[in-house]
Each structure stands twice: as structure tokens, then as C-alpha cells.
């Protein structure tokens, strides 16, 4: 069954209150993926609903201790494969950088404590440490992910879709990691630009299907990153409107 835009719009209020059937919910969710206007309306409805729920009361005693206890017993799943396989498209696609960074930071923390808390090692951390040592893949990217002082920027489309994420280290070593960047035809390439004042400076020609790309951020003055699609081989100046961009955090 397909619904018109108008029919979907009429469902947005009841959808936001979980008052639709599972089938209707599925139809709305499919529509929301491609409709920023309807997404914004649902978000507004949910903010209103959240205001209704406010009572200013406290959570019952005991629940937090149960939650904290669960964290100790079952720490968040460390999906090491995701952290290690940045070049492996199927594993990387759709995984936000911050999660990879979080897992990587956790891995770093585990490594850091290995020397002083050997008695606390269990099977899980043993496995983690071994995997980190064995896997030389993307060491430079991992180092950037471990680097707390590195700047991170999401490259997003105008309607809010994150296409890629960049991490920029203080020394200028930088990496662009795919998020939802689609594969291009072979005669096209992605090209990354640094915005300096009103000029776009090419930072790299990334190819038609990039997973992780390294680039150097030499010199200062870059305030934003932008991504365009260009003809294969790249161009000296952008010929297309950026499909995604992001402001670089100020140091």
C-alpha cells in the first residue's frame, strides 16, 4: 500500500503519539527518510508531547543502582570488527564515526590500564588487546580516533543527512570516513574542499567509492569542509554545488 504525501501528513500527529497501527507506522517511517519537512513536524509534535509528560518528579529509588549494576555486569558491546575495519565497506557503512571513536577510545582506555591492572583482565579485554596488536589496519586512523584533541566534523547535506565525517589532528593529519556516502559512477569522483575565506581549496580527490581517505590540512584558515561530485580525476575548482559540508570547530 502506498499513501500520498497528504495522507502521510494527516498521520503525523497520531504517529508522533504512537497511535497508529504497525503497518501505518512503517509507511510513515519510510516516508520520513526522504521528507525533511515531515520529519521536522514529527519532531515538533514529540517536543509538545514531551512537555505534557513533565511532572518534575523523581525516579524511584533503586532503579539507578540496577542500571549501574547492569553496566558493570554487561558493558556495552565492543564491536571490534567495526573499529578495525574502516576500509571494509560493509562493516563501516552507516556506523557513525562517534561510535567508532567511542569504541576506539574504550579500546585505548583498556590498553592504558593493562599495565597496572593485570589482575582485572578478563577474556574480553584479552581478546580486545590481542586484536589491537594483531591488526595493523588503519593504525593512523585509529590514532586520530584516539586523539581527544582532534577536531571532528560531520559533513551533512542541506536536509541533515550525514554523508561523511572528518577527524582533523593538530598536526594537520586528517581523515574522512564515509557514513552514508553513495557509490558514484566510475566516471565521477568525490572531491573534498577546504573553505578558506571565500575560496575553496582542494584537499583531495577521493574516488568514486571512498571508505576512508587521508588528507593533510596544511596551514590555517580553513573554516569549513565541503564535498562535491566532480568528473573522474578531479578539478582545480569546484564545478558543482557541495552535496555536503560542515563547519570546522574552532580550536
Amino acid at each position: 500500500m502506498e499513501l500520498t504525501h497528504l495522507e502521510i501528513e494527516q498521520l503525523l500527529g497520531v504517529y508522533a503519539l504512537d497511535a497508529v497501527s504497525p503497518e501505518e507506522s512503517d509507511l510513515v517511517e519510510v516516508h520520513l527518510r526522504d521528507c525533511p519537512r515531515c520529519r521536522a513536524e514529527v519532531a515538533e509534535h514529540r517536543e509538545v508531547a514531551a512537555s505534557l509528560a513533565h511532572v518534575g518528579s523523581s525516579a524511584p529509588p533503586g532503579v539507578w543502582s540496577r542500571i549501574a549494576g547492569s553496566l558493570e555486569e554487561a558493558p556495552p558491546k565492543l564491536d571490534l570488527a567495526r573499529v578495525m575495519s574502516l576500509r571494509s565497506r560493509p562493516a563501516r557503512r552507516g556506523i557513525p564515526l562517534r561510535m567508532a571513536a567511542a569504541a576506539a577510545a574504550m579500546a585505548a582506555a583498556v590498553i592504558a590500564v593493562l599495565g597496572v591492572q593485570v589482575s582485572h583482565l578478563d577474556g574480553r579485554t584479552d581478546k580486545l588487546a590481542a586484536a589491537l596488536q594483531e591488526n595493523g589496519l588503519d593504525r593512523a586512523v585509529q590514532a586520530a580516533l584516539f586523539d581527544e584533541s582532534a577536531r571532528r566534523v560531520d559533513l551533512r547535506s542541506d536536509d541533515g543527512v550525514t554523508f561523511a565525517q572528518a577527524v582533523v589532528r593538530d598536526n594537520g593529519d586528517s581523515y574522512l570516513v564515509r557514513d552514508s556516502l553513495p557509490k558514484l559512477a566510475d566516471d565521477k569522483t568525490y572531491q573534498l574542499w577546504g573553505i578558506v575565506a571565500d575560496r575553496a581549496v582542494s584537499l583531495g580527490v577521493l574516488g568514486s567509492d571512498p571508505d576512508v581517505s587521508a588528507f593533510k590540512m596544511a596551514g590555517g584558515g580553513v573554516t569549513a569542509l565541503a564535498l562535491t561530485t566532480e568528473r573522474a580525476g578531479g578539478v582545480p575548482a569546484p564545478t558543482m554545488t557541495p552535496l555536503a559540508r560542515g563547519l570546522l570547530p574552532i580550536v
Binding site: V14, L17, A43, H45, S51, L71
Partner: protein, 196 residues
């Protein structure tokens, strides 16, 4: 708990949670668990199940912080949407619904329990109550049955004896009306009042 965490924005807290900072989760819990629990309890009318929902919602934030997208609204509305969705799922399972209906019938018989009065006079914060007051009764009733009662709009239509299309429109226009009133009243971010 560090004061830095207490001053951190909700977005910053989620980033810290993604870095496995348990104290950041504790701070998010301190800010929002009261509202999460109250909503779950309201919808489920069951203390124990509501506590389980609270636990589930915050553990999900811990294991899947990337599900929260700050571009799509506040952390508070995200957590409450999770809470509501989960509570409604539980409610719509036969056992829970039967338990709730039995409890409500018993409370009504024993203490003159008035669900409508309870919901709208006791659960709604004073500031928001003013906004709710802008709603025509028909819109308010439809929203109440859907949101706090956990009913689908089709069920609401049957309960109110109204066409389904009318109920859909009333709920949407009621939410839009309240949104406008919240903006006018500068209550568009009610989340901050829950921190105190």
C-alpha cells in the same frame, strides 16, 4: 559527579556517554529519569513495569547513544518518545492491558478515581497546563486517550464515537495549537525545568 558534567548540555552528555562515561549517564538520568518514569507509570498504570521501562530506556541510551540525533529534537523528547513507544508496546500486549484495565476499574470503584482529572490536573506541569487550556475539549480528549491512554486513533474514534479522520485531524491540530502556544509562552524548551 563533576560540576562540569552538571553544566554540560544534553548533547555533550550523549557524546560523553558514547565514550563510556558512566557519570554522564548518571547525569542524564538525574535530569530526565523523573519524567521518563512518570510517563511510563501514567501509560502503564503499573509501578513495576514502569521501573523496568526506565531501566530499559537508559540502558538503551548507554548501548546505542548514536540513536539520538540532536538535529531531530532534544534528548528529553527523544527519551520520552522511546519511553512512550515502549510503554505502548507493553500496554498493547494482552496481559498488560488486562492488568491495567482491572486496576483502573478497581481504583475507580474504590476511590472515585477520575483518570481524566488525574492526568490533566496532576501530571501536567503548571506552566504547561496553561497551554493545554487553549485546546478545545474534543482535541484535548483525543490527545489524552492517545497519549496517556495508549490507544490507537482507531480506538479513540470508537471510544469517542467520532469518525477516524476527525480524530486524526483533531490530534494533529491540537498538537499544532499547543506548539504555537508553547512558542508564544516561551515554554518551547520545557526540558530545563525538569533538571531542578
Amino acid at each position: 559527579m563533576t560540576s562540569a558534567l552538571q553544566e554540560m548540555s544534553d548533547g555533550g552528555l550523549v557524546v560523553a556517554i558514547a565514550r563510556y562515561r558512566e557519570d554522564a549517564l548518571a547525569e542524564a538520568y538525574r535530569r530526565h529519569a523523573g519524567a521518563v518514569f512518570a510517563l511510563a507509570r501514567r501509560v502503564l498504570a503499573d509501578l513495576t513495569t514502569a521501573e523496568e521501562v526506565v531501566q530499559e530506556v537508559f540502558l538503551r541510551l548507554w548501548t546505542q547513544p548514536d540513536k539520538f540525533d540532536p538535529d531531530r529534537g532534544s534528548l528529553r523528547s527523544y527519551l520520552l518518545a522511546q519511553t512512550h513507544g515502549r510503554s505502548v508496546d507493553l500496554l498493547r500486549s494482552d496481559t498488560s492491558r488486562r492488568r491495567r484495565e482491572e486496576r483502573e476499574a478497581r481504583q475507580t470503584a474504590e476511590a472515585g478515581y477520575d483518570l481524566e482529572h488525574e492526568v490533566w490536573d496532576l501530571t501536567v506541569a503548571d506552566r504547561v497546563k496553561e497551554v493545554v487550556a487553549v485546546l478545545p475539549v474534543a482535541e484535548r480528549r483525543a490527545i489524552e486517550l492517545a497519549y496517556f491512554g495508549g490507544h490507537t486513533y482507531r480506538e479513540v474514534a470508537v471510544l469517542l464515537g467520532e469518525p477516524e479522520g476527525t480524530v486524526k485531524s483533531r490530534i494533529r491540530s491540537g498538537l499544532q495549537r499547543m506548539r504555537s502556544a508553547l512558542k508564544t509562552s516561551d515554554l518551547s524548551d520545557p526540558g530545563d525545568v525538569a533538571w531542578n
